[in-house]
């Protein structure tokens, strides 16, 4: 077997570097905890990384709803709607989990986390 030439080594090093850089740039699945995607009227209006601890306000039809974010999970903690079903739905952490506040026209979905199911029936 012939010894590797400098060119061989250069190609190998370049390929390895490209793989590493590509995973870092394009692969978002490894983002710990994923994201909370907030939609209003079918449009995405906010996207929050589920990292750190904080409360954020999202404007809705009736007024602002407040989300509490903790590492890997999110929930509605306050809403101007009357029945507060969104608040009672509690913490969401599973990939694809969705909570909606219909009166305030907002929905929340967990993305960027592996989904066990394509859809949930209830």
């Amino acid at each position: 077997m012939k010894a590797p030439t400098r060119s061989d080594l250069a190609v190998l090093v370049l390929a390895a570097l490209l793989v590493g850089v590509s995973y870092a740039v394009f692969w978002h699945g490894g983002e710990a905890g994923g994201y909370a995607l907030v939609r209003s009227g079918g449009e995405t209006v906010a996207r929050f990384a589920l990292a750190g601890e904080r409360a954020v306000e999202v404007p809705g039809r009736l007024g602002p709803s407040v989300l509490r974010i903790e590492p890997g999970r999110v929930r509605f903690v306050a809403s101007p709607c009357r029945r507060k079903l969104c608040v009672h739905a509690g913490w969401q952490a599973a990939g694809g989990a969705t909570v909606a506040c219909l009166p305030n026209g907002l929905s929340l979905e967990i993305v960027g986390v592996e989904r066990l199911y394509d859809s949930i029936n209830f």
Binding site: M1, K2, P4, D8, V11, L12, A15, A16, L18, V19, S22, Y23, F26, W27, H28, G29, R39, G41, G42, C81, R82, R83, A94, T98, A100, L102, P103, G105, S107, E109, L116, Y117, D118, S119, I120, N121, F122
Partner: protein, 350 residues
């Protein structure tokens, strides 16, 4: 051609590079609000522009159906209900007449357990208000008075483009049927537009087209009491999964739960189940069936399922035990227990 031994690791590195750059998410989700609930349309693998156009088309369709079929709105059904209350007839178009004919047929087959004429009863209980939950059950005498007048589809007559009711207390409420019809129409529309793989999920009730790539669609069924899902199943092209549960709309009063699925025989929330799930190829029939089977409860669901042509059924009883048909047992996998021990398959009771 001669390949250097260093070409092999280089080839693997390039393949890994390609994998890293491949699109990770092949499902595009569209969401909108209709029928007082959240509608998700998940499209696998299709051109995003086509999927967006299809989703927008379905949203327009759902909004129109919601307006036309709302029992107390300004659309066709609201107009009919107001005419009934005045003792008058009302105009009805062929589409709604056909729908009511199908609903009447399902109501008969269910022995009246699925009853689209309970609009006044639903309103009396306060479940027709999308914005506010009721706080206490209505007066029993008012419930009795409504039932004594005689409800049911047999009181309706459709002729020459008009509909009449022999009882002014009847109000049509397609709550246990309209969503299924809408889901069927959405699936037809998606297919017509060339979408080959999708899920239409309207407030938890769904129907699928095609597959998720090289595997069937995977569906989780929410636990009626605990967290997460109670069961999972793979759903094939054209199949729908519908569930009715006492956890969807309810209020607690003096330590008792009062939910929105009313028993036409008593005028009160049905007590024989906490959740019913069916798998069927027609979403409209599945929608009506879960309501009827929920009302039938643990004692009577098998006969009602047979009458409605439902072979795949799971019922979670009021005490938390699980019963299911042998066909459903073959398809569904429990991932956590209900509130008691092992599931009972329908044959166990024979």
């Amino acid at each position: 051609m001669r390949i250097s031994v260093y070409g092999i690791p280089t080839l693997f590195a390039c393949l890994a590079l390609a994998a890293a750059c491949a699109p990770r998410e092949e499902v595009t989700r569209f969401q909108f609000l209709a029928f007082g609930t959240l509608v998700d349309i998940d499209v696998y693998g299709a051109d995003r522009e086509l999927a967006a156009r299809a989703a927008a088309d379905i949203e327009t369709c759902f909004q129109a159906l919601h307006r036309d079929w709302h029992p107390w709105g300004d659309g066709a059904l609201g107009t009919i209900n107001r005419a009934f209350a005045r003792g008058e007839t009302a105009p009805i178009d062929a589409d709604l007449a056909g729908l009511l004919g199908e609903a009447a047929s399902l109501s008969r087959a269910s022995g009246g357990l699925f009853d689209p004429t309970l609009g006044r009863l639903v309103d009396l209980w306060g479940f027709s208000d999308d914005e506010q939950s009721p706080v206490a059950p209505p007066d029993a005498a008012r419930i009795r008075a409504l039932l004594d007048e005689g409800l049911g589809m047999q009181h309706l007559r459709i002729a020459d483009g008009r509909i009449a009711s022999s009882n002014p207390d009847i109000a049509l409420d397609l709550g246990g049927f309209a969503k299924g019809v809408a889901v069927d129409r959405a699936v037809e529309r998606l297919r017509a537009l060339g979408v080959r793989n999708a899920i239409v999920n309207a407030g938890g009730d769904l129907r699928v087209i095609g597959r998720h790539g090289d595997r069937p669609w995977r569906i989780g069924i929410r636990h009626p009491r605990g967290k997460g899902v109670i069961a999972e199943l793979e759903v094939h092209d054209g199949e729908s999964v519908f569930t009715s549960g006492d956890y969807e709309r309810y209020f607690d009063y003096q330590g008792r739960r009062y939910h929105h699925i009313l028993d036409p025989r008593t005028g009160e929330p049905a007590t024989g189940a906490i959740s019913v799930t069916v798998l069927h190829r027609n979403a409209a029939r599945a929608d009506a069936a879960v309501t009827a089977l929920f009302v039938a409860g643990s004692k009577a669901w098998r006969n009602v399922a047979a009458a409605l042509g439902m072979t795949h059924v799971m019922l979670i009883g009021a005490d938390g035990h699980i019963e299911m048909s042998p066909e459903m047992h073959e398809r569904l996998r429990l991932v956590q227990p209900a509130l008691d021990d092992r599931p009972r398959i329908a044959g166990d009771f024979a």
